[in-house]
C-alpha cells in the first residue's frame, strides 16, 4: 500500500472537482472521505449550491458511471430498482435495470418521494444489492448514493425514517460560499463556464483506484485508545439529556471507518483523535433524535454533538 500515492490521488481529485465547484472544498473532501469509507452521503442545503454539479463532476473526474433520480411524490420503487418486462420480440421476461445500477447515484430531493419509494433504496444502500422477483442482483463497486434534501420546504415532503437515515454514513450541511468564492463563480460564468458541459474536466482516477483505496482502509492502524474515544463519544449521545434516541453501534462503526478514511486523506497510516473529532458531527447529527422540548428550545443535533465533544476526554491528552 502506497499511502502517499493514494493520498495525493485524493488531493488531485479534490483539486480537479474544485475547478468547477468553487468555494466548497470542505464538501468535496467530506464526500470523497465518505466514498473511500464505503458510505453514502446525505447532503442538506438550499437549492442552487451546486449539489448536482458536485456529483456530476465527481463522476467525470473519478471515471465512474453516474445516474440521477429526481424524487417526486409519484415515483415508484420500480422506477429506482428496475423491473421485469415481457419482451414480445424475444418472447420472454427480461430485467430492465433501474438507475440504481450505477456507481454514483444522485438521489435528488430524496424526501419528496413517499416512504415506500425511499425504502427501495434501503437494500441497495446497505446490502449493495437489489432484489426483484426473488432474484438478488449485486450492485457495482464502488457504489455511492449521494442524496440531497432541502431543509426549508416541508409541504409535500416525507421526512426520511430513522432506519433510512442510519444508512447514510455522513450528513453534510452545505452552506453558502464566501463572497470571494461567489465572485469567482460569477467570473467563471462570465468566462463561459457551462455547468452542463464538464468535458473539460480531466479524469484523474479510476474505478480500480477507488476500490483499492477502500480496501486499503483495513491497513490503517487504530490504537485501542482511539476505539475507546469513539465508543465514549457515541455512548455519550445516548445519555445526553436533550437526546431521546442516541447513535447506534452502526454509527460507531461509521465513525471509525470515516476516521480511517480521513487518516488516508491526510496520508497517515494511523488514526489520531482529530480524525474522529473532525467527523463526529457529520456522522452523528442525523442519527440523533432530540427530545421535543429541546427542539422547541432551539437545540439542534449539532449542539448536542458539540456538548458531547466538550465532555469526551481526548486520549493521551496533555491537558
Amino acid at each position: 500500500m502506497n499511502l502517499e500515492h493514494l493520498s495525493s490521488e485524493l488531493r488531485r481529485i479534490e483539486t480537479e472537482v474544485s475547478r468547477v465547484l468553487v468555494g466548497q472544498e470542505s464538501l468535496v473532501e467530506h464526500v470523497l472521505v465518505g466514498l473511500v469509507a464505503r458510505g453514502h452521503v446525505l447532503i442538506e442545503g438550499v437549492p442552487g449550491l451546486g449539489k448536482t454539479l458536485l456529483v456530476r463532476a465527481l463522476g467525470r473526474v473519478l471515471g465512474l458511471s453516474f445516474r440521477r433520480i429526481q424524487f417526486t411524490p409519484d415515483l415508484m420503487p420500480s422506477d429506482i430498482t428496475g423491473s421485469t418486462l415481457y419482451s414480445q420480440k424475444l418472447g420472454e421476461f427480461s430485467f430492465v435495470p433501474g438507475p440504481v445500477f450505477t456507481e454514483l447515484l444522485l438521489a435528488d430531493e430524496v424526501n419528496r418521494a413517499p416512504a415506500k419509494t425511499q425504502s427501495a433504496l434501503l437494500e441497495a444502500m446497505q446490502e449493495r444489492s437489489v432484489t426483484t422477483d426473488g432474484i438478488t442482483r449485486p450492485l457495482s463497486e464502488p457504489f455511492l448514493v449521494l442524496a440531497t434534501q432541502n431543509p426549508i420546504e416541508s409541504q409535500g415532503t416525507y421526512p426520511l425514517p430513522e432506519a433510512q437515515l442510519d444508512r447514510f454514513l455522513l450528513k453534510l450541511e452545505v452552506g453558502h460560499p464566501s463572497q470571494a468564492a461567489e465572485a469567482q463563480i460569477l467570473l467563471n460564468y462570465v468566462a463561459g463556464f457551462d455547468p452542463g458541459e464538464l468535458s473539460h474536466l480531466n479524469q484523474v482516477s479510476t474505478q480500480a483506484s477507488i476500490v483499492e483505496m477502500q480496501r486499503s482502509l483495513g491497513e490503517i492502524r487504530i490504537a485501542r485508545e482511539i476505539i475507546d474515544y469513539v465508543t465514549d463519544i457515541v455512548r455519550r449521545t445516548r445519555n445526553h439529556p436533550s437526546v431521546s434516541l442516541g447513535a447506534s453501534p452502526r454509527a460507531s462503526i461509521g465513525l471509525l471507518n470515516v476516521a480511517r478514511a480521513h487518516a488516508l486523506w491526510e496520508g497517515r497510516d494511523f488514526v489520531i483523535p482529530d480524525d474522529v473529532k473532525s467527523y463526529a458531527h457529520a456522522v452523528l447529527r442525523h442519527r440523533l433524535q432530540l427530545q421535543p422540548d429541546a427542539e422547541l428550545e432551539g437545540i439542534t443535533a449539532d449542539h448536542c454533538v458539540d456538548s458531547v465533544l466538550r465532555d469526551a476526554i481526548v486520549p493521551k491528552t496533555s491537558a
Partner: protein, 664 residues
C-alpha cells in the same frame, strides 16, 4: 480527644500563630489597645500568689525606701525561673549571637553573681560553629509565628488559585458557548456518562524536567510526550492556547493559525508525537533531540518569565518578622516583664495611639524615640499622677522636666546614695549616659537611686501630681543586664505597681491603621498588592476591554405553549400549509369550546356560537363565521390553497377560546 476537638485545637493553634506572626505586624484600629506580654508560667504564678499572700494587703503606696517593700527572695526565685525558661535565648551558652555581643560579655564579667554561667563560658571561649538545630533560636512562639505566617500565605495562594479558576471558567464559557443556542446540559451529561478520572501534569517546569529525566533513562516515548505537554502548556501560559482535556492537537493547531511560526513548530511536534502515540512509530533519541530543539526556545522563554514572576513575588515575602528575638534576646524586655508580672503588676504593650490613656494604667515605660505629640500626652499622664519611666534623652522631655542626658563612659558597679540603708545592692552597668538634674524647683522631690561616681544614673523627679523615673541607659533594663548582680531586684522594686498596669510604649504604639489599605501596607503586603495590580493592568491590557466586564447570564427561558403554537403556525406558513394548521388546531379548539360550554351533549356550530357569544359578549353572527371557517378548513385543507388569512382566523379562534375560559 475527639476529632472535632483536635480540629478545634489546630484551628486555635493556627489562629495563635497568625496573631503572633504576620498579622501582628499591622494591627488595625479594631485591634485591642494593647497586647498582653507573656504571663508567668503556672508554677511562677503559684509562687507569686504564695508570696503575695504573705504580704500585707494594705501595702503603703509610696514607701520611702522602695527596696524594702519587695522580698528579695521572691525576685531571685522568679529570676532563676525566668532565665531557665527555654524562650530566654540569650542565657544559653550555645547562642552564637550572644557570644559576639561585647556589651553582654562585659556585663557577664562584672559580677560574680552572673546567673548565666553558660554565657560567661561562651564569652570566654572562642566563637565556634553553632549546631544547626540550635542556631535558629527555635521557640514555641517562633514556631507558632512561622506557622501563622505559613497559614497566611497558604490562604493567599488559595485565593489566587480560586481567582484563576474563576477567570478560566469565564474565558472557557466565552470560547465554548454554542453560538445562538441555549446551553442545556453538562451536569446531567456528566452524571449520565461515567467519566474516567483524568489527571495530567500541567506544570511546564515539571513537564520539562520529566522529559529530560525520561530521556536520560532512555524512555523516549514518555520523553516526547512530556515535551509535547511542556510545549502545549507553555503556549497556554503565554496566552496562545486554551487547554482542556477535550481539545485535540488539531484544535490547538487551529488556535495557532494566526502565528505561522508557532503553528509550524507545533504541527511538526504534534505529528511526530502522534506517530509515536497512535502510529506505533519508535521513539528514539534522535527524535527526542529533534523535538527538543524545536520546543526548547518556546518553553525556556516561558520558564524564564515564570522565574521572574516567582522572584518578584518572593520579594514581598521578605519581612523582619523573624529577624530577632524581642522577648528572649539579650536586648529584650522579657525578663523584666515576667519579673513584674510575678510581682502582681500587669505589663502590656500599648498598640493604640496615646490619645486616651486608660485609668488603670499607673506607669508607662517608654522604649525608644517618640514623636513630640506623644511626649505631650506622656507628660500629661505624668502630671496627672502617673509614673513615666524613660531611658533615653528627648528634647521635649528635657524641656519639660529639665533633666538632661550627658555622655558618659563607665563599665562596672554603680553606687547607691545614702538613704536606702540597709539596702546595699550590687548594681552593674555599661554606662554610656548619666543624668543632669537641672533647675530643681523642688529638690526634695528629686530622688537618686543609683549613681556613677557623683553623677546620677537612676533618678526620679516629680512632675505635677506624678513623677518621671529616669534610667541612664535603656540597656539597664534589658534581659542581659537584669541577669547580673542585684539589677533585677533594683528594677523590679522601682517599677512594681501592685495590682496595677504598666504599659510599654514604643515604636509599635500608634501603629494601628485607619483603613484596610493602610493595614495591608503596614503588614508588608503593599508590594504584593502592587504586583497584583500591575499584573491585573497588564492582563487587562492584553485581554482588551472585555476583561473584567460583567457577563449576562445565559437566560434559559421557557416559552409559553402559545409561543410554540405561534412558532408552529409560522412554520406552516413558510411551508404554505396554513390551511392544514387551521384545520388541525381549529378543530381541537372547537372541541375544547364544546367540552367547556356543553359538556353533557354534543351541539352544532350554531348553538355553540350562541353559547360562546353569551359568554364573551360578542355578536353571534361573527362567531358563526369564525367557527364555520375552522370547520371548512377540515374539509378542504388538502385541496384549497393556503393563505395568511388562515393564521389570522386561527389566532382569533384561540383568543376566543381564552376569553371563554381557556382550552383546559
Amino acid at each position: 480527644m475527639s476529632l472535632r476537638g483536635t480540629r478545634l485545637g489546630l484551628v486555635a493553634l493556627l489562629a495563635l500563630g497568625c496573631v503572633s506572626g504576620a498579622a501582628l505586624a499591622a494591627p488595625s484600629d479594631e485591634s485591642p489597645a494593647w497586647q498582653s506580654l507573656p504571663p508567668a508560667t503556672s508554677s511562677d504564678a503559684e509562687g507569686a500568689e504564695r508570696e503575695a499572700a504573705d504580704e500585707a494587703s494594705d501595702e503603703p503606696e509610696a514607701p520611702s525606701n522602695p527596696f524594702t517593700s519587695v522580698p528579695a527572695d521572691s525576685v531571685e526565685g522568679s529570676l532563676s525561673r525566668v532565665l531557665s525558661s527555654p524562650d530566654v535565648s540569650f542565657c544559653k551558652a550555645e547562642q552564637a549571637a550572644a557570644r559576639e555581643d561585647s556589651r553582654l560579655c562585659s556585663l557577664s564579667r562584672l559580677s560574680a553573681r552572673q546567673r548565666c554561667p553558660g554565657l560567661r563560658q561562651a564569652c570566654a571561649s572562642k566563637p565556634a560553629e553553632a549546631s544547626p538545630g540550635s542556631s535558629s533560636g527555635w521557640t514555641i512562639r517562633n514556631g507558632l509565628a512561622m506557622l501563622g505566617d505559613l497559614a497566611f500565605w497558604v490562604v493567599l495562594a488559595g485565593l489566587l488559585v480560586v481567582l484563576g479558576l474563576a477567570l478560566r471558567r469565564v474565558f472557557a464559557d466565552t470560547e465554548f458557548a454554542p453560538p445562538g443556542a441555549p446551553e442545556r446540559r453538562s451536569a446531567s451529561t456528566s452524571e449520565a456518562a461515567p467519566v474516567a478520572r483524568h489527571v495530567a501534569e500541567t506544570d511546564v517546569a515539571r513537564l520539562w524536567a520529566m522529559a529530560q529525566e525520561s530521556a536520560l533513562a532512555a524512555r523516549f516515548e514518555e520523553a516526547v510526550a512530556a515535551l509535547q505537554g511542556a510545549l502545549i502548556h507553555a503556549l497556554r501560559i503565554s496566552g496562545k492556547l486554551h487547554v482542556s482535556p477535550a481539545q485535540t492537537n488539531g484544535d490547538y493547531l487551529r488556535a495557532l493559525r494566526p502565528d505561522p511560526t508557532l503553528h509550524a513548530t507545533a504541527r511538526d511536534v504534534f505529528r511526530s508525537v502522534e506517530a509515536v502515540q497512535f502510529g506505533g512509530a519508535p521513539a528514539s533519541g534522535e527524535l527526542y533531540r529533534k523535538l527538543f530543539e524545536r520546543v526548547q526556545p518556546i518553553v525556556v522563554r516561558v520558564l524564564f518569565v515564570l522565574l521572574l514572576c516567582a522572584f518578584g513575588l518572593a520579594q514581598t515575602g521578605c519581612s523582619k518578622a523573624f529577624g530577632g528575638d524581642p522577648v528572649g534576646g539579650a536586648d529584650g524586655l522579657g525578663v523584666l516583664t515576667r519579673l513584674l508580672t510575678d510581682q502582681h503588676t500587669t505589663v502590656r504593650r500599648r498598640v493604640r495611639a496615646l490619645n486616651v490613656i486608660e485609668p488603670e494604667v499607673s506607669a508607662i515605660l517608654v522604649v525608644g524615640e517618640q514623636p513630640s505629640e506623644a511626649w505631650v500626652k506622656l507628660l500629661e499622664f505624668a502630671a496627672g499622677g502617673g509614673m513615666l519611666v524613660v531611658s533615653e534623652s528627648s528634647e521635649d522631655l528635657a524641656k519639660a522636666t529639665h533633666v538632661h542626658y550627658s555622655a558618659d563612659a563607665h563599665t562596672g558597679r554603680l553606687d547607691m546614695p545614702t538613704g536606702f540603708e540597709p539596702s546595699q545592692l550590687e548594681l552593674f552597668a555599661v554606662v554610656r549616659h548619666s543624668l543632669e538634674l537641672r533647675n530643681p524647683e523642688d529638690t526634695e522631690s528629686d530622688r537618686t537611686f543609683a549613681q556613677v561616681g557623683k553623677r546620677a544614673y537612676v533618678a526620679e523627679r516629680s512632675h505635677g501630681a506624678g513623677s518621671v523615673l529616669y534610667f541612664g541607659d535603656d540597656d539597664f533594663l534589658s534581659n542581659a543586664s537584669l541577669s547580673v548582680g542585684d539589677n533585677a531586684f533594683f528594677a523590679v522594686s522601682l517599677l512594681r505597681r501592685n495590682g496595677q498596669v504598666l504599659e510599654l510604649v514604643g515604636p509599635w504604639t500608634g501603629g494601628g491603621s485607619s483603613s484596610t489599605f493602610s493595614s495591608l501596607f503596614k503588614a508588608g503586603l503593599g508590594a504584593l498588592l502592587a504586583q497584583l495590580a500591575l499584573l491585573a493592568v497588564l492582563f487587562g491590557w492584553y485581554g482588551g476591554t472585555a476583561f473584567g466586564l460583567r457577563k449576562d447570564p445565559i437566560a434559559v427561558r421557557r416559552r409559553a405553549f402559545r409561543d410554540h403554537v405561534l412558532a408552529l403556525g409560522e412554520s406552516y406558513r413558510r411551508a404554505r400549509a396554513t390551511r392544514f394548521a387551521l384545520a388541525s388546531y381549529g378543530s381541537w379548539l372547537t372541541e375544547r369550546l364544546r367540552e367547556r360550554l356543553s359538556p353533557q351533549q354534543p351541539i352544532g356550530l350554531i348553538d355553540l356560537a350562541g353559547r360562546v357569544a353569551g359568554r364573551v359578549d360578542r355578536p353571534e353572527s361573527e362567531l358563526v363565521v369564525l367557527l364555520t371557517e375552522a370547520r371548512e378548513a377540515q374539509d378542504d385543507f388538502a385541496a384549497a390553497r393556503s393563505s395568511p388569512a388562515d393564521l389570522s382566523t386561527l389566532e382569533k379562534l384561540e383568543a376566543l377560546t381564552v376569553r371563554a375560559g381557556g382550552s383546559k
